[in-house]
C-alpha cells in the first residue's frame, strides 16, 4: 500500500511540474528562449488568485480565469518590453535578460508587499478517495486532469489551428513566416499570452493544493519545470507532461527510500543520464545537424 501511495504522491507532484512545464516548453518551442521569468509569472498568478479568493471573495474558477487573464497580459508585456528587442541577439543575451526580468519581478513583488508568505484559503471541501488502502485527494485528481486537459488543448492549438501553424512557422524562420503573410509580433504575443496564462493557472492550482505562496515561490518550481521540459524534450508539449511526471515520481521514490535530502540530486542525475543516452530528451528528435 505504501508503494501505491507513493506512486500517487509522485504523480500528484509531477502533475504540478508538468503544469508549469507546459507553458515553459511552449514558449521555448516557439522562440527558443529559456524564459526564466516563467516561474515568476506563475508566482504572480498564485498571488492574483489569492487576492481574488481571499480578498474579493471570488470562487475558484473565476479566480482561475482572472489569474490566467492577468498573467496573459503580463506575459505579453514582458515580451514586448524586455524580449522583443533581443530577437536577433544571441540566445544567451536573451537568457540573461530573462534572469534579470525574473529578479525584477521577484523583488518588485517583495518591495510592494514584503517577503512574508501568504496562506491560500480552502476553496474545496477536502475529499480523499480510498484506492486499495492508498489515499487520493480530490485536489490531486483535479491537478492531474487539468494538466492533461491543458496538454491536449495546447497540442491541439499548436498542431491543428491556424495560429498554431503560424507559431511553428515563426519558430522555424521568422522572415519566411513574414513572407507567408504571418504577423510575427502578434504570433509571438499570442504564444506568450497562452504560455503565461498556463503559468497563471498553475499558480492558482499550486496555491490551492499547497496552501503556501510567497514572492520567491517561482524559483524552484520554475527550475524543476525547466528540467522537466528538457527531460521530455524541450519544445515538445507531451514531452513536458511526461518529463514532469517522471521528475515527480523520481523525487518521490527517492524520498520513499529515505533519501529525501538527495532527491534533487537524484532528479538531476536522472536528467543527465537520460540526456546522455537521448541528448534531446525523451521525446526529442535526435536532430543531428545535417552536414
Amino acid at each position: 500500500m505504501e508503494w501505491l501511495q507513493q506512486l500517487i504522491n509522485g504523480i500528484s507532484l509531477g502533475s504540478i511540474y508538468a503544469l508549469i512545464a507546459l507553458g515553459y516548453t511552449m514558449v521555448y518551442g516557439i522562440i527558443k528562449l529559456i524564459n526564466f521569468a516563467h516561474g515568476d509569472v506563475f508566482m504572480i498568478g498564485a498571488f492574483i488568485g489569492f487576492y481574488a479568493i481571499a480578498g474579493w471573495g471570488l470562487g475558484f474558477f473565476p479566480a482561475l480565469l482572472l489569474a490566467m487573464t492577468v498573467c496573459a497580459i503580463f506575459g505579453v508585456l514582458i515580451e514586448r518590453i524586455a524580449y522583443k528587442r533581443l530577437r536577433n541577439a544571441t540566445r544567451i543575451a536573451a537568457l540573461i535578460t530573462a534572469i534579470g526580468v525574473s529578479l525584477l519581478i521577484e523583488y518588485g513583488v517583495i518591495y510592494v508587499r514584503g517577503a512574508q508568505p501568504e496562506a491560500y484559503p480552502d476553496v474545496f471541501a477536502k475529499k480523499s478517495f480510498d484506492v486499495f488502502g492508498a489515499q487520493i485527494s480530490s485536489q490531486s485528481l483535479l491537478i492531474l486532469s487539468v494538466s492533461i486537459v491543458l496538454m491536449i488543448l495546447l497540442q491541439f492549438i499548436v498542431h491543428k489551428t491556424k495560429i498554431g501553424k503560424a507559431m511553428r512557422a515563426v519558430s522555424h524562420d521568422m522572415d519566411a513566416a513574414r513572407l507567408m503573410g504571418i504577423n510575427v509580433n502578434n504570433t509571438i504575443s499570442a504564444t506568450f499570452a497562452i504560455g503565461s496564462a498556463m503559468a497563471g493557472a498553475a499558480g492558482v492550482i499550486f496555491g490551492v493544493y499547497y496552501t503556501k505562496i510567497d514572492p520567491l515561490m517561482g524559483i524552484i518550481p520554475g527550475l524543476k519545470a525547466f528540467v522537466a521540459a528538457v527531460l521530455g524534450g524541450i519544445g515538445i508539449i507531451p514531452g513536458a507532461m511526461v518529463g514532469g511526471l517522471v521528475l515527480g515520481v523520481v523525487e518521490t521514490v527517492v524520498s520513499a527510500f529515505g533519501f529525501s535530502l538527495w532527491r534533487d540530486a537524484a532528479a538531476f542525475i536522472i536528467l543527465i543520464l537520460i540526456l546522455l543516452f537521448r541528448p534531446s530528451g525523451i521525446f526529442g528528435k535526435n536532430a543531428r545537424e545535417k552536414v
Binding site: Q6, A119, Y210, T211, D214, T252, S255, S260
Partner: protein
C-alpha cells in the same frame, strides 16, 4: 507598503554623529530566507521608533544602518566590514541565520563591535570550535539544545509516548540542533526513535516522506523547523490521516502557521515558545497592538518579536553601562544581563553568551495557542 515606515528609525538622522547611536542591521533582506530577515527588520524598526519617540537612549536617537546580505555568508561578511569600517556603528543586529552570523563574528571581535543575532540559535554563534567565547557576540534567542531537551521531556513525561518520529529541516542548523538534542534526551530516557527523516527548507511536497513516517507508526512526531514548511507538513500529515500529537519549537510561532495548516489540523499539536501572542500579559498585548498599528494590522511572529527584543536588549545594556558608544563597556553590560524581561521571555546571559530563559509549552486548540506548561532551564 510598509517600506517607507521601515526606515522610521533613521528619521532625524544627521551627519553630526554625536547625537545619534548608529546601529547596523546586517540582515537577509533578499535571497532564500528574505522573509526571516525582513521580519526581524520590521520588529527592529518598531522598537527603534518607540525608543526614539520616548526620547532615545541617554537623549540620543538610534539610527539604524541596514545592509542586505542576500542570505549569503560572503555578503554578510562584506556587510559587517562595511558597517564596522565605513559606518563605524556601535553594534550590529544580525543576521537571522546562525551561518550568516558566524560569518561576521570574527569581524565584530576584531573591530570591537557588538554583534547580536536575534534568531541565530546555534551554539557556534557565540562559542568558537575551540571552546572560546566570541566576546562581542550575543544572541536574543535560546540555543538549540535547550529546546530539544524541553521537547523530549515533555513527550516523555506529559504525553507519555515511547515510539516517536523526528522530521527535521536539514537546511538549518537550528532544526538539526534541536533534533539532535531531542534524540539524545529522549533515547537516554529509554524512548525509541522509530523514524528520523529530514526535509530541506523551501520544499513544498512532504507527502512521500510522511508516507514513510506513517508506515513506521509513531505515537508522536517532533518537527523542528520553521512555520513556512511546518504549516504544510502539519496540513499534509493530517490529510494523510496522521493524527498523533505533533510538536515543534519557536520556529513554529507565527500566525501564518494557523493559516497555512488550518486550525483543525493544528489540534493536538504542541509548541515550545518564548512567549505567545495570545498571552494576555500586558506588555505582550501592548507589543502586539503596537505592531498591528504600525504594520496594517499584522500580528507579529517570532522573528518580529526577536528583532524587537534585540533592540531593547541592546539599549538596556547601554543604559546599564552608562554609555552609548563605548563598546567595551556595553559588551560587559550585555554579558551581565540578568532577569531582563522582554517580550520573548525573561532572560539572563550566561558565560557562553547563551541565554537562560524560560520556555513555555503551548498547545494549539482550534487555532489558538493555549498555555500548557512552563519549563524553566
Amino acid at each position: 507598503g510598509c517600506n517607507s515606515s521601515k526606515d522610521a528609525g533613521s528619521e532625524g538622522s544627521s551627519s553630526k554623529g554625536g547625537d545619534v547611536i548608529k546601529i547596523g542591521a546586517n540582515l537577509e533582506l533578499s535571497g532564500p530566507v528574505a522573509s526571516y530577515g525582513s521580519g526581524i527588520a520590521d520588529g527592529v524598526a518598531l522598537a527603534v521608533e518607540e525608543i526614539n519617540n520616548a526620547g532615545g537612549v541617554d537623549g540620543k536617537k538610534i539610527e539604524i544602518v541596514k545592509v542586505d546580505n542576500k542570505s549569503d555568508a560572503a555578503e554578510a561578511t562584506n556587510g559587517a566590514i562595511k558597517l564596522t569600517s565605513q559606518d563605524k556603528v556601535t553594534a550590529i543586529i544580525g543576521a537571522a541565520t546562525s551561518g550568516n552570523t558566524v560569518a561576521q563574528a570574527q569581524i565584530a571581535n576584531d573591530n570591537k563591535t557588538i554583534l547580536v543575532s536575534p534568531s541565530g540559535t546555534s551554539p557556534t554563534v557565540t562559542v568558537r570550535d575551540d571552546g572560546s567565547v566570541n566576546e562581542y557576540v550575543f544572541r536574543t534567542a535560546f540555543i538549540d539544545p535547550f529546546q530539544g531537551t524541553v521537547a523530549a521531556n515533555f513527550a516523555l513525561n506529559d504525553l507519555k509516548v515511547k515510539n516517536v518520529a523526528i522530521y527535521a529541516d536539514n537546511a538549518s542548523d537550528y532544526a538539526k540542533g534541536l533534533a539532535a538534542s531531542f534524540k539524545e534526551t529522549f533515547e537516554a530516557a529509554g524512548g525509541k526513535i522509530v523514524a528520523q527523516e529530514s526535509y530541506v527548507a523551501k520544499d513544498t511536497d512532504f507527502r512521500s516522506t510522511l508516507t514513510r513516517i506513517k508506515a513506521a507508526n509513531p505515537e508522536y512526531i517532533f518537527i523542528p523547523g520553521y512555520y513556512e514548511e511546518v504549516g504544510l507538513i502539519v496540513k499534509q500529515a493530517r490529510e494523510m490521516g496522521i493524527d498523533v500529537p505533533l510538536m515543534g519549537a519557536d520556529g513554529w510561532d507565527s500566525p501564518k502557521l494557523v493559516e497555512l495548516a488550518g486550525a483543525d489540523a493544528l489540534n493536538n499539536t504542541f509548541i515550545i515558545n518564548h512567549y505567545s501572542s495570545e498571552d494576555q500579559d500586558e506588555t505582550i498585548q501592548k507589543f502586539v497592538k503596537a505592531y498591528g498599528d504600525k504594520y496594517n494590522g499584522k500580528s507579529p511572529d517570532a522573528f518580529n518579536a526577536l528583532g524587537y527584543d534585540t533592540v531593547y536588549l541592546l539599549t538596556d545594556a547601554m543604559k546599564r553601562a552608562g554609555t552609548t558608544s563605548d563598546s567595551e563597556k556595553i559588551k560587559d553590560a550585555l554579558a551581565a544581563t540578568k532577569d531582563l524581561s522582554l517580550i520573548t521571555g525573561t532572560i539572563t546571559v550566561d558565560e557562553n553568551h547563551h541565554l537562560i530563559k524560560s520556555a513555555t509549552v503551548l498547545e494549539y486548540v482550534d487555532g489558538k495557542q493555549t498555555f500548557n506548561t512552563k519549563v524553566n532551564p
